[in-house]
Symmetry: C2
Subunit: 341 residues, 2 copies
DNA sequence: TGCCATAATGTACACGCGTACATTAATAAT
DNA sequence: ATTATTAATGTACGCGTGTACATTATGGCA
């Protein structure tokens, strides 16, 4: 049914091993035989059987990407995932690997190690991990086994956990500094869920910016949501009540900012007149809102590509096998009207 | 290094075949030996090697999902893809398959057949295909070989091409009828790129709705974009100039509607007072705009799930092997403020 | 010419599993 | 108790490739 190596070998008048070498470009070979083999393969419509190759090599040839999945619910912005996936896809393609998508049920310990034990993947990237116990345990087990994996945008205490992240402390610092530079002093903060290292970093950046400007931290204008639009909308209640205490507010992602702005407008606020807003992510929606959002652009695409490239390099360069990846990419402030420009 | 079947067999005191049968749950077996094997496997930390299994079975165990990819450019809304992918992911997981993500370079003929020849996938779903030559040729080759594949939301003349789509004619009809029912007669149409069957279906629904209401079609208020926000924004020029000819406008997707509305507002329009808008997709952004968009909700998630389920069933039920999939799912109008409510 | 190094190719086997077929054990029917 | 039937397990091989090692061709050099 499927033509195999033997037939190609026969047609080309060489041994199977030679066919294999030609097709994999290995070892010295006479140009004439190379051409003869290639011709024979073309004539028979032959291509290497990827499964058999994988089997013989003992590698799946796949990079696994694990993402949290609750049917019909988007835990994060789709923007975040699609950007990172694109980046990973680029790296994977250029290195000739496959990209296996795996969905993880949050709130249960995902058995990443089994992914490797069953040889479904040669390496894996974990998206949307948090510091909750189930996530941490899964990741730590992976680290114990010294397997090639990488977590995206979430720091772990464990020094043998590879991470590619964005510098959210810097991003937040610049966001808040932008508001300070524009003359605002009473700057609130709507942060996201504390189970992400992300959120802590933003808090640090926020505090540092205020501190550097000699502004005393006012705990009463620090709010907490969960990165969803709904939670931003909910926060509008509190923020609206505190409006006289606020010149501006820094929000930990675009979605919450959008919810917040909607909530405030429903209560009769004028934006950005009554409150300046700086958000985070620079998602597609950021420029769609009224007013458009000043927001921190995060290089999700590059983060995905970098993680995949580093990981796949580890697989080939044998002296890098044990190297822990630890990259932190810079963000960039995109200034639009919501911060009063 | 990796423990294998032989060791488990030895520890359990059975033959390798018995281990295999127990682990695959095949054939009759004594409960006692079943337990003994499972125990041995657990003790040795053994799991089936997925690659070897695939090889022995002659199947990869993967469903391929092919999407168009230009680095850093989103051809469609990320919403569209992430919803469909979620649906596919759900089906794939419940059937025990893997989900292999493949990126296609638009404007070149993608060799889908090679995907099967190299046995990287057992079936595949194609996203973002259009009626341009390169896309059509790739898909038609696939159909010629009678391989198990399915195109999402794009019809082909070729009757042996499997398709899962939404009923865009119906969706458009209802969208326009909604405007008519509210008393508007001068209803424009901003359509998307003509290379998608999608766009033609919307046009048909638009015409039919007008026709059924006895409204004469006015070609001068039919506009064309390419589904991008930018193109919607560009159309604002023309629409603004035609404003006295328009009570309302039907727009082929949310992104264009958002661009259009922004453009109109920049020119001083009041929305929805000066122009009622009905859009399409019910993407995340639809409820974020000011005013929120009345829009046609498309069951992307279900479409993805359905396509994957049908396809994977075909693989097992041998009498369905040749069945062509042809499903059309219903849409639903979500009424918000942009249509004047 | 003879010798050696290297190029070029061939031989042979392992990889881990699924499964057809053969064999033996258990149970039912007579 | 014998036989027929089915349950339960074992034996043996194929799947298509990569690659270690063996073998043969080739060319340079003395």
């Amino acid at each position: 049914m499927t033509t195999n190596r033997k037939e190609v070998a026969r047609l080309a008048g060489v041994s199977e091993a030679t066919v294999s070498r030609v097709l994999n470009g290995i070892g010295p070979m006479k140009e004439s035989t190379r051409v003869r083999v290639i011709e024979a393969a073309k004539q028979l419509n032959y291509e290497l059987n990827a499964v058999a190759s994988s089997f013989a090599r003992g590698k799946s040839g796949n990079l696994g990407v694990v993402l949290p999945h609750v049917p019909k619910v988007h835990l994060f912005s789709t923007y975040y995932f699609s950007e990172i996936l694109s980046g990973i896809g680029e790296a994977v393609r250029s290195k000739g690997y496959g990209l296996l998508l795996l969905f993880r049920d949050p709130a249960t310990v995902y058995d990443y190690v089994s992914l490797f034990r069953t040889q479904r993947v040669d390496a894996c990237i974990i998206l949307g991990a948090s510091a909750v116990d189930t996530d941490m345990e899964g990741v730590n087990r992976l680290a114990e086994e010294r397997l090639p994996f990488c977590v995206m945008d979430q720091r772990f205490d464990n020094p043998s956990v590879s991470v590619v992240a964005a510098d959210h402390e810097q991003g937040s610092y610049e966001a808040v500094k932008h508001l300070i530079d524009k003359g605002y002093r009473k700057i609130g903060f709507l942060n996201g869920s504390p189970q992400y290292s992300n959120s802590w970093d933003r808090m640090t950046g926020y505090r540092k910016a205020l501190n550097d400007a000699g502004i005393k931290l006012d705990e009463s204008i620090i709010y907490e949501g969960n990165y969803s639009r709904t939670s931003g909308n909910r926060a509008a209640n509190l923020v609206y009540a505190d409006l006289e205490k606020l010149d501006a507010i820094f929000v930990s992602n675009d979605r919450m900012a959008i919810g917040l702005m909607q909530g405030l407008r429903e209560r009769g606020c004028q934006l950005p007149e009554d409150l300046k807003v700086v958000a985070y992510d620079d998602s597609d929606a950021a420029s769609l809102t009224e007013p458009p959002l000043t927001t921190v652009k995060v290089p999700f695409y590059e983060m995905g590509r970098l993680a995949a490239e580093k990981l796949l390099s580890r697989l080939t360069d044998k002296d890098e096998t044990e190297t822990v990846i630890n990259e932190k990419l810079q963000t960039e402030l995109k200034i639009r009207k919501s911060s009063g420009n």
